[in-house]
């Protein structure tokens, strides 16, 4: 699609020329504005030198995630620019299953690296639809691709891969290790017998076999694995400890608690230094059961483990200590020279002992602000009534992190007595504190919070008003809706944009007429977002306002684009009539939205309007036309889609194939068969897949 050069240049120059903060801000704005302006610019921002800009662009593209975006991201797997390629791969992984139809054909790409990258992304999407093509890739000519396919099948975890992976274990020496690991990740019991039988075979496979059996073994498997604990390779001993922990968790067995033997305690201590988090985690869990005295200090060292899982397991293990005898843990916590005191506060949060709560309240006055903050956080769960007054006092702490944590804890406690003391924090000098206070007030909610927040909406400082709006947005019920709508009167455009956006997200139907008024707002972004939100509300009464917006007074193309989309979402006959006119007469960007909207409505009158677009010079228009035709009934639509199979653009042909694949009629099937000789392998594969799916339909023969 052609974006007006002046618009594109404006954003492009900011993206090329600004500093990092300006580029971040621009990418955020683009992400909020959405399509059609954002895609090409956000894709470009994936190559930005600043990781934060790339990350924001990735999030924005994930919000768009339409077919052209996914196609272009998939093409980026060919890039030599590693940062851009990796961010594109991460974005595709975020998009998930919708990316699979564009990634699966790349498993047959001529470039082996592209095949590996495709397998790696499919692993991250964990889409079961990728299982069949990945199983096929187990027969790839390249050992690295076969290995990547086996690893991906493990990540996806679908039991349909079990037999292909067992076959690979029998016949492919190189993939054997990865395939066993994959079977473990899948965790399907049907592989258990064969894997157990292999335990006495090739010693080089013992390690992955133990790992796999930890994941899919039954209670009795633990007994078999105990016999491997004394293997001279410590990796085996560590794998056994991890496997026993997993079996215990799954089957309620207590193998780890049976490791209380001096020689095993040595293995447990060494397992704490393993690089595998799952090994350290099970070792920590075992020490929680069998350890005493010195074990507490081993566990304390794991409170700063790199792995969150291990830290959590260490906390749980220390909590077991505290449950049996809280005093040693409290003694370390109250020792101002000890390490890990904030983490011990977190550990004490899990204790049900009253003395743990008392220690945390005492910690709110500690000299170390990190301890005070940790105590405030912990008291949200462990404090009860006794914590209310000390937490209210902590709202005046000199350290903003403590004030924020106290505010959050009070929000969790949900006591109305906290509302009045929280209000001054909405005007705190530190934005994070304001946000925590706003969220806390939102969580407490109810009429007392609304009554106190309402007057603050008239504040002159826009940042404070924004915080109040965020607080109101955090109130889950409808009691805050009237105030959010009232914010449409705010003189600041960015406040009105936020309010308009919130109305759509919360689907405040009674605000439809206020949104229609916002379609005449002097700020074009407010008008665009108002049209978006009206689309969300789907109120037929809004059609006339949106028809006006389609001819936006300033002729702003993005407002008109959003209006066309919203009309499609509402879908009345009047909306359809306006969209039919827009398809014939409007600028390409608006036309694009109108075509898509007509497809969404499924009005067969669109056939006449769409027919001329089959030869439109812009491939995006032709692709969108194909999608819209796919939603219309009748043979005429199928015939028109057949014409698009001859299109010179690969993307258009793929869209036509996808649309035809969803149609049960004979014309569609004949057209799909004709494309089986297409010059492009991706198009041929898509046609094969569509015909295979079609054969499974009950009405396929009609």
């Amino acid at each position: 699609m052609t974006i007006p050069a002046s618009e594109l240049d404006h954003y492009q120059s900011q993206l090329d020329g600004g500093d990092v903060a300006a580029r971040e801000s621009l990418v955020r704005e683009l992400a909020l504005l959405g399509q059609p302006l954002a895609r090409s610019l956000l894709l470009k921002a994936l190559s930005d030198p600043a990781p934060r800009v790339r990350q924001l662009a990735s999030a924005g593209l994930n919000d768009i995630a339409d077919r052209p975006t996914i196609e272009q991201l998939a093409e980026m797997l060919r890039l030599e620019d590693v940062a851009a390629r990796n961010t594109a791969m991460a974005t595709l992984a975020l998009i998930g299953a919708r990316a699979t139809p564009h990634l699966a054909p790349l498993l047959a790409d001529a470039d082996g690296d592209v095949r590996i990258f495709a397998a790696n992304v499919l692993a991250l999407t964990r889409d079961p639809a990728a299982v069949a093509p990945l199983c096929a890739a187990l027969g790839d000519a390249s050992a690295n691709v076969r290995n990547a396919a086996a690893e991906a099948l493990g990540r996806i975890g679908d039991a349909r891969a079990v037999q292909p992976l067992l076959t690979a274990i029998r016949s492919d020496e190189w993939v054997r290790f990865a395939a066993i690991e994959a079977l473990g990740q899948i965790g399907d019991a049907s592989a258990r017998a064969e894997l157990t039988a292999m335990l006495g075979g090739d010693p080089w496979l013992r390690y992955p076999l133990i790992e796999a059996l930890g994941r899919l073994g039954d209670g009795a498997t633990g007994g078999l694995l105990m016999g491997c604990l004394n293997d001279p390779n410590l990796m085996v001993g560590h794998a056994v400890i991890a496997a026993l922990g997993q079996i215990d968790e799954r089957h309620g067995t207590d193998w780890l608690s049976q490791l209380d033997r001096p020689e095993i305690l040595t293995v447990l201590a060494s397992a704490l230094t393993s690089r595998e988090p799952i090994v350290r985690r099970s070792a920590v869990a075992a020490l929680g059961w069998v350890g005493a005295g010195d074990a507490l200090f081993l566990l304390l060292s794991r409170l700063s483990d790199d792995s969150e899982d291990v830290r959590a397991a260490a906390l749980q293990a220390i909590c077991r200590f505290a449950e049996r005898d809280a005093q040693p843990v409290i003694a370390v916590f109250l020792d101002s020279t000890a390490n890990h005191r904030p983490l011990l506060a977190e550990a004490l949060r899990h204790s049900r002992r009253a003395e743990a709560g008392h220690a945390l309240i005492r910690g709110l006055k500690d000299q170390d602000s990190a301890v005070r903050m940790a105590c405030a956080k912990a008291l949200a769960r462990a404090g009860g009534e006794a914590a209310l007054k000390p937490l209210l006092e902590s709202l005046g702490d000199t350290d903003p992190r403590v004030r924020g944590a106290a505010a959050a804890a009070l929000g969790t406690l949900g006591k109305p007595e906290a509302i009045q003391p929280l209000l001054p924090l909405l005007d705190d000098a530190v934005p994070d504190v304001r946000a925590e206070a706003a969220a806390a007030l939102g969580r407490i909610g109810g009429p007392p919070a609304i009554i106190r927040l309402a007057p603050l909406l008239q504040a002159s400082r826009p940042d404070l008003v924004e915080t109040i709006l965020q607080a109101l947005a955090a109130i889950p019920d409808t009691s805050a809706n009237a105030l959010i709508v009232w914010a449409l009167n705010n003189p600041e455009p960015h406040i009105r944009r936020l309010a308009v956006n919130l109305i759509g997200r919360r689907r405040i139907v009674e605000a439809a007429s206020a949104l229609e008024d916002a379609l005449a707002d002097p700020d074009w972004q407010v008008r665009k977002l108002a049209a978006d939100s009206l689309g969300e509300l789907r109120e037929p009464q809004s059609v006339s306002g949106l028809l006006q917006a389609l001819k936006d007074a300033d002729q702003n193309v993005w407002v008109r684009y959003a209006a066309a989309r919203a009309l499609g979402q509402i879908g009345t006959a009047e909306a359809a009539n306006a969209l039919l006119r827009a398809v014939r007469h409007e600028a390409d960007i608006v036309k694009l939205a109108a075509i898509s909207a007509l497809g969404q409505i499924g009005d067969d009158r669109a056939m006449t309007a769409l027919q001329p677009l089959l030869a439109h010079p812009d491939p995006d228009i032709r692709k969108t036309t194909a999608e819209a035709l796919g939603r219309l009934s009748g043979h005429a639509a199928s015939s028109a889609l057949g014409q698009l199979l001859e299109d010179g653009n690969r993307g258009v042909r793929l869209a036509a194939v996808a649309a035809l694949g969803r149609r049960p009629d004979a014309v569609a099937r004949a057209a799909l068969k004709s494309v089986l000789r297409d010059s492009d392998i991706g198009v041929r594969q898509a046609a094969h897949a569509a015909l295979a799916d079609d054969g499974n339909r009950p009405d396929a023969s009609t």
Binding site: V82, R85, E173, A178, W204, Y207, P232, L234, M235
Partner: protein
Amino acid sequence: MTARILTVDDSASVRKMIEFALKSKGYTVVAAADGQEALGLLQQGERFQLAILDINMPQMDGLSLLKLLRARAEWARLPVLMLTTEGQDSDRDQALELGATDYMVKPFKPTDLIDRVGQLLAQFAA
């Protein structure tokens, strides 16, 4: 003291397989998932007697890492065993031109890897 070996491969299963094989012979093995991570370890002052590098990796591939190793005096003499894939003769040739000590073609058996590592360590210890 046992030899310390750096192994760099983006495939988790290949990394584990190499680590398991070499640890069974008592070597200390440090694994990294790509060249960038390996470079980080080296820059932190980690010392190794041998590096085993896969060629195709994200972030930084094995050839780029090899080039960096050979360009720095403190790493220039580190023996490097490159892992190549069948049919990638040009990669193998490029690795040798850039100063790789030796190469092994995937797929290989763990025992073959152990033998080759033993030979290289003996050769460079002498």
